[in-house]
C-alpha cells in the first residue's frame, strides 16, 4: 500500500480510497470510517474558511482526545492552514502566549465545557461531530480543496519546552511530516487489523502521530481519555480489545503493577511502543513475564525531528538498553563538544540528519541556529542535546540530557521554564527546580520576599498540569557555589533526602 502522498491530509484521502469500510477512529461512544473522517475534515475545512481563516494561517487547537479534534486538524491541513495543538490543561495565559506567538488567526478551545473558536472579531461555538457528520457523505478529496498548498508549506507548529524559558514552536512542513509518518510506519509493526489504544494526549507529538500512523497503516485508533490510561488501563485494554499500546514509562509502570495482580484475560495486546523516556528495563521485563505474547518496540526521538530511532520488535532482548536503529533514509552521528564525529562505542551528543529534521523554531532564529546547525553549506543537522553512543551495528544507546530539560510523567519539561514561571509570581524572589529522580517527585525550591503562599496552586494559572512540580519547599536561604550561583547539587541532595 505504498502511497505517493505529498501532503499530510492526502494520507487520509489515500486511506479513504484504500479502506472504504475501515474504522479510522473510535471512542467509547462512536466510531467513524476513513471516508466519514474525510467528510468531517471537509466540513471543518469549509467551516474554518467561514471563520475568516485563510490558507497560510495558523489555527490553535485545544487537542482533547475527540473526533472533533482530529476533524479540525485534517480540516486545517486540507484548507492550507497550519494547526497548533495544545494540551487541554493549558492555562488561558499560556494559550494566549501561544496564540500570539504563532500569530494564530483562530484559537479553538473549551470554555465552560463548550468548544469555542476565538478570532479577532469575537467568539463563536464550534460545531460538534454530529453536525460535521451531516457532511460526512462528502467525497471531495482533501488534496483538491486547496490547490495552492505545496509540500513546503507548514503543516503544524508543535510547542514544546525549549532549553530556555518559554515554549518553542517546532515548525513542521508537510513534506517533513509525511516523510516521518512513512518512515515510522515502515519501522513499526502496525497492521491493517490492529487497534491502537491511545491514552496519550493528542497535543504530544507521539500521540498526534498515532492518528497519522493509523491512517497510513489502515489500523483503527481508539481515542481514550488520558486519565483512563492509569488505574483503569488494564480494564480499558481488555474491553477495547486493543492490540497496540503506544506508551510513556509511567503507563508501563502502572500496567506492570496491575498485571502483577492479574494478567488474565489480556489476550489481544501484542505490541507496546515506548517513547518519552527510556523505559525501566525491570518494568519491561515484568510486563514480558505477565504477557508472554507481548512484544516491545523501544524508541528514541524528539519533537524537533519527531523520531530518530526505532528498535525492531524485541531486539532489545539481544541488545539490552538500545533504543534502535535510525529511521529509513536518515542517519544519526555521535559527536564531541566541538561537533567532531566519534567512533562506535564512544559517548557524545546525538546528532540527527535526514528529511525528518523539521524546519526550526517558529520566529526564533537564534535558537534554530543553535540546534539546527549547518555542518556545511548543504547539510543541516539537528543537535539533540541528548548524549549516547552507537554500537558496531549502528544501534543507538541513549544516556539522557546534560541541559535543563527533563522528562516528568514521560513528558518534556524544562527547569528554566518552571523557574521562570515561579519567579514571575509576585512575592517569589528565587526558584530552583530539581528534576524528578527514581521514585522521587520533582521539587521546586522557592525563596519568598514577603509572606509565603501555595506556589503550586498559583502556578496552575501559568503552566500545564503535567509541568507542575511534584512538591514545593520554601527556603529562607539558598545554598550557593563559590561562583555565587545556586548550588543545584546541594539542592538536589536536599530534595532527595
Amino acid at each position: 500500500m505504498p502511497s505517493n502522498c505529498e501532503f499530510v491530509h492526502e494520507l487520509l484521502d489515500h486511506a479513504a480510497a484504500t479502506w472504504p469500510d475501515g474504522v479510522a477512529i473510535e471512542n467509547r461512544n462512536a466510531s467513524v470510517t476513513y471516508p466519514e473522517l474525510r467528510g468531517i475534515a471537509n466540513f471543518y475545512a469549509r467551516w474554518l474558511g467561514e471563520q475568516g481563516v485563510r490558507p497560510g494561517d495558523r489555527v490553535v487547537v485545544e487537542a482533547a482526545s475527540t473526533v472533533e479534534t482530529v476533524g479540525i486538524i485534517f480540516g486545517s491541513l486540507a484548507f492550507g492552514a497550519a494547526f497548533c495543538p495544545i494540551h487541554p490543561t493549558t492555562p488561558a495565559k499560556q494559550r494566549r502566549f501561544i496564540s500570539e506567538h504563532s500569530e494564530a488567526a483562530l484559537s479553538i478551545h473549551r470554555e465552560d465545557g463548550e468548544l469555542v473558536a476565538q478570532n479577532a472579531s469575537g467568539t463563536v461555538r464550534v460545531p460538534g461531530v454530529d453536525e460535521s457528520l451531516a457532511g460526512a457523505a462528502n467525497e471531495t478529496r482533501l488534496a483538491e480543496l486547496c490547490p495552492d498548498v505545496i509540500p513546503e508549506d507548514i503543516a503544524c507548529l508543535i510547542y514544546t519546552s525549549g532549553s530556555t524559558g518559554l515554549p518553542k514552536g517546532v515548525t513542521c512542513l508537510h513534506r517533513q511530516v509525511v516523510f516521518a509518518v512513512k518512515a515510522i510506519a515502515n519501522s513499526l509493526d502496525y497492521r491493517e487489523d490492529d487497534k491502537i489504544f491511545l491514552g496519550l494526549p493528542l497535543s504530544f507529538d507521539y500521540g498526534l502521530y498515532q492518528i497519522f500512523l493509523g491512517i497510513q497503516t489502515g489500523a483503527t485508533l481508539h481515542l481514550a481519555d488520558p486519565r483512563s490510561a492509569g488505574l483503569s488501563l488494564l480494564k480499558e485494554l481488555a474491553t477495547t480489545q486493543a492490540t497496540i499500546l503506544p506508551a510513556v514509562p509511567p503507563m508501563l509502570e502502572t500496567l506492570a503493577v496491575l498485571a502483577r495482580k492479574q494478567a488474565g484475560s489480556l489476550q489481544s495486546l501484542r505490541l507496546i511502543t515506548n517513547t518519552g523516556a527510556a523505559a525501566a528495563r525491570a518494568t519491561v521485563q515484568d510486563l514480558r513475564s505477565s504477557f508472554p505474547n507481548l512484544r516491545f518496540q523501544l524508541m528514541y526521538g524528539l519533537t524537533e525531528c519527531k523520531r530518530a530511532t526505532i528498535c525492531p520488535p524485541d531486539a532489545d532482548l539481544e541488545r539490552p538498553g538500545t533504543c534502535g536503529l535510525p529511521l529509513r533514509g536518515t542517519k544519526i552521528a555521535i559527536v564531541d563538544d566541538e561537533g567532531r564525529p566519534l567512533p562506535a562505542g564512544e559517548v557524545g551528543e546525538i546528532v540527527i540528519r535526514g528529511p525528518h529534521v523539521m524546519a526550526g523554531y517558529w520566529k526564533d532564529d537564534e535558537e534554530t541556529a543553535n540546534r539546527y546547525v549547518l555542518r556545511h553549506s548543504t547539510m543541516r543537522e539537528l543537535r539533540s542535546g541528548d548524549y549516547g553512543w552507537v554500537d558496531a551495528d549502528g544501534f543507538l544507546y541513549c544516556q539522557g540530557r546534560r541541559d535543563d530539560i527533563f522528562k516528568q510523567r514521560g513528558f518534556r519539561v524544562s527547569c528554566s521554564e518552571i523557574e521562570a514561571a515561579a519567579c514571575g509570581l509576585k512575592g517569589v524572589n528565587h526558584a530552583v527546580l530539581v528534576p524528578p529522580a527514581e521514585k522521587k517527585p520533582s521539587v521546586l525550591f522557592v525563596g519568598f520576599d514577603g509572606d509565603e503562599f501555595d506556589v503550586i496552586s498559583r502556578l496552575r494559572d501559568e503552566l500545564e498540569e503535567y509541568k507542575l512540580p511534584g512538591k514545593c519547599i520554601s527556603l529562607p536561604e539558598f545554598p550557593t557555589t563559590p561562583n555565587g550561583k545556586f548550588d543545584r547539587k546541594a539542592l538536589k541532595a536536599l530534595a532527595h533526602q
Binding site: R227, S228, L231, S232, E253, T254, R409, E465, Y466, K471
Partner: protein, 87 residues
C-alpha cells in the same frame, strides 16, 4: 468488615497524604482527584495500593473504572462498596 463513609474518606485522605508526602486537608466529596488533589496516573495507582493495605481489600484490575476515582465522593463510595462486597 464494612466501613462507613467517614472512615473511607479519612483513609483516602491519609493515603493521598502518604503518597504525595505532604499534608492533605480534609476532603470534600466534590473535590476532583486529578485537578484539586493534583494526582496523576502514578500517584492514583500508589494511593489505591496503599488503601488496599490499610483497609484490607483486594481489587480486580479488570474491574477498575476510571469514573469511580475521578472525585473524592465517587472514590469514597467505591471504597465503601468494595469493603461491603468483600466483607
Amino acid at each position: 468488615m464494612a466501613i462507613d463513609h467517614e472512615t473511607a474518606r479519612e483513609a483516602l485522605r491519609q493515603a493521598v497524604s502518604k503518597v504525595l508526602e505532604e499534608d492533605t486537608p480534609p476532603l470534600e466529596d466534590g473535590m476532583n482527584m486529578f485537578e484539586d488533589l493534583r494526582m496523576d496516573s502514578t500517584t492514583m495507582l500508589e494511593t489505591l495500593m496503599e488503601l488496599e493495605e490499610t483497609l484490607q481489600f483486594d481489587v480486580d484490575p479488570e474491574e477498575l473504572d476510571i469514573e469511580d476515582f475521578l472525585t473524592v465522593g465517587a472514590y469514597v463510595k467505591f471504597l465503601v462498596e468494595v469493603k461491603q462486597q468483600q466483607a
